[in-house]
């Protein structure tokens, strides 16, 4: 492969990883920004989504059953979590939220192990996207292009919803000032609940989509959590543009960096995180002015 095509492939890898991070981080950032809730279990929900899609795919023989079933399943779990735990813990301080969701990580970890075992599982790519595609002198798996396209579609869709719809306006208002929004008659509780479930569903989709690429294992939740948190914080809590920028930054630094200068890349991401936290805690593209 020529130099240019090598870098093109790397860029596509970076973009694909960014899209995965985006799907996870956008749910988390709106939950953070709106509910002011630190949900460390978000990664566990992603893993759950991957496992559910594995089961559904196996059971029905179709990837798409998993693809549509996983977000539904995870959203259902999200509903019970919200009603049972999250709603109460919303007002508790960050430390308690960290602890409770840490507890959830433990619980989900073992639940997945009980239900699906310890060994890493694999999911087949769907028929439609099982071939490679050739363009601009490179050969690239069409499934990964699908992931990129999906990410971009979600980006566009969310942008439309947030900027053009009533509910989007309410969400933005709630992120900006939830008490004032409530005073204006916005049913903030219902909004929180809705947003939380959508966030969980997005985590489920991310898991279903990641399953054919990464292997499905109990640790996949904890390993994706840190990059997701980094994206959310760097971008800005509650900010969609922030989640986009953050996932692109982290995705590209990690992917290209792994090829160019691995040690530096990892440290660079954490240094960027620390820098943002100290100098501009509201993030690079903050939601609130």
């Amino acid at each position: 492969m020529s130099d240019l095509s090598f870098w093109l492939v790397q860029a596509l890898h970076g973009l694909q990883y960014s899209m995965l991070l985006f799907l996870l981080s956008v749910g988390l950032t709106v939950i953070f920004g709106l509910l002011h809730f630190v949900n460390l279990a978000h990664g566990a929900l992603y893993a759950l989504g991957a496992y559910i899609s594995f089961s559904l795919t196996n059971w029905t023989g179709s990837f798409w059953a998993g693809f549509f079933g996983a977000p539904l399943g995870v959203a259902l779990v999200g509903i019970s979590l919200y009603l049972g735990l999250i709603r109460q813990m919303r007002k508790a301080g960050p430390m308690n939220q960290v602890l409770v969701t840490f507890g959830l990580i433990f619980i989900f970890l073992d639940l997945c192990r009980i239900l699906w075992g310890d060994i890493a599982l694999g999911v087949e790519q769907p028929e439609i996207f099982s071939k490679t595609v050739e363009f601009l002198g490179v050969t690239y798996p069409s499934y990964r292009l699908f992931v990129i396209a999906l990410g971009l579609a979600v980006m566009g869709g969310l942008h439309l919803v947030l900027s053009r719809t009533q509910i989007g306006a309410m969400i933005r208002a709630g992120v900006d000032n939830d008490q004032m929004a409530a005073c204006l008659g916005i049913n903030v509780e219902q909004l929180f609940f809705f947003v939380f479930c959508v966030g969980c569903a997005l985590a489920g989709i991310a898991g279903a989509v990641a399953a054919p690429i990464l292997s499905v294992s109990p640790e996949m939740g904890t390993s994706i959590l840190i990059p997701t948190l980094i994206v959310v914080v760097i971008g800005g809590l509650g900010s969609l543009p922030g989640a986009i920028l953050g996932s692109l930054l982290v995705g590209f630094i990690q992917t290209i960096g792994a090829v160019v200068a691995p040690q530096l890349a990892s440290i660079l991401v954490y240094a960027l995180l620390a820098g943002v936290l100290i100098l501009k805690p509201s993030g690079l593209l903050p939601a609130r002015s």
């Binding site: 109460q88 960050p94 409770v100 840490f102």
Partner: protein
């Protein structure tokens, strides 16, 4: 504020004596458990100083612990230095790391603070993990324990090493409680209670936080040295963020802001883990549920709840006397 109470001291004595008896009477495996408890207790107490008393919830203490272990390994194995010099180097490096984190994070609060400590912990982890000279994922072997043969003590013997670790627990408690009772320690608590007012009283906030974190880091580093000497092996596993999370869990289970509570939490967690794992592979669920229950019921922890009960009983008795 920290107060040295009979209840705390009695609990400390009970823990040490109980573990000592268990180590003496139990076999090799009992001593292994005792060493694990001692190491975790020291680490958890060090975290309580900054998190419970200082109000700075750190998610990088696992990394500091690991740094201490690795520093010992580097000096002892790569540098072929004595265990004493390895220990001193470990304490210095972990203290310095703590100092830096405390200073740099002094203006951040809440979730941002927690995440910044996480970031620094991860930076340390990644540095160690990627360093090929340190063995990478495989870690380093061949660490040695101290040589106290001049005193007639053989640290290669598991019972004697266990006793050494046990002795380090009240030693760490004494150092930490001494610091917390001092003017400096009280300033740390004051900052937790009302940072703005402390500033108006003339206190330089970042200095207190940095020094507090440094002292806490040094004790965490001691735990790291003991852990390294125990297994005579170090690996990056010691430094993952989940380790930091687990130390925080231990602190909460025992009692945040009680200093001895975390030691109780360490005893609880290690023995609970051991008991559970002997009949199920899935003890994580139990710990997770327990943690959630403790937090949802007010977060005082086992020892914290006991202390509160004790205080209330004492107050009501005093009122009766009057």
């Amino acid at each position: 504020m920290f107060q040295q109470t009979p209840l705390k001291l009695a609990t400390l004595a009970l823990i040490i004596l109980g573990l000592l008896l268990y180590a003496i009477l139990g076999g090799y495996f009992a001593r292994e458990l005792v060493i694990e408890v001692a190491v975790l207790a020291i680490l958890a107490m060090s975290l309580d100083m900054v998190a419970g008393y200082g109000g700075m919830v750190s998610l990088c203490h696992g990394a500091i612990f690991g740094l201490g272990a690795y520093m010992y390994a580097i000096v002892n194995v790569l540098g072929e230095g004595s265990p004493i010099s390895g220990t001193l180097a470990a304490l210095a490096v972990s203290g310095l790391f703590g100092l830096l984190v405390g200073a740099i994070t002094s203006r951040t609060h809440g979730i941002y603070f927690i995440m910044t400590t996480l970031a620094f912990g991860q930076m340390a982890y990644v540095l160690i993990f990627d360093a090929s000279s340190l063995g990478g994922d495989d870690g380093m072997w061949g660490l040695g324990r101290g040589d106290l043969s001049g005193l007639g003590i053989n640290l290669e013997d598991s019972l004697q090493f266990a006793i050494l670790c046990l002795l380090c627990v009240p030693l760490s408690y004494a150092v930490l409680s001494g610091v917390l009772r001092s003017g400096f320690g009280r300033s740390l608590v004051g900052i937790r209670e009302n940072e703005g007012r402390m500033r108006a009283l003339g206190i330089t906030i970042w200095k207190i936080k940095a020094i507090g974190f440094a002292l806490s880091g040094t004790v965490a580093g001691l735990a790291g040295v003991l852990a390294a000497q125990h297994t005579m092996f170090v690996s990056p596993e010691l430094m993952t963020w989940t380790v930091s999370g687990e130390v925080l869990v231990v602190v909460i289970l025992g009692g945040l802001g009680t200093l001895i509570g975390p030691a109780v939490g360490a005893v609880l967690l290690i023995f609970l883990k051991h008991a559970l794992s002997s009949f199920t592979d899935y003890w994580h669920i139990v710990i997770g549920v327990l943690l959630i229950l403790v937090v949802m019921s007010g977060g005082r922890g086992v020892y914290g709840g006991l202390e509160l009960f004790w205080e209330r009983r004492r107050n009501s008795l005093n009122k009766q006397e009057v």
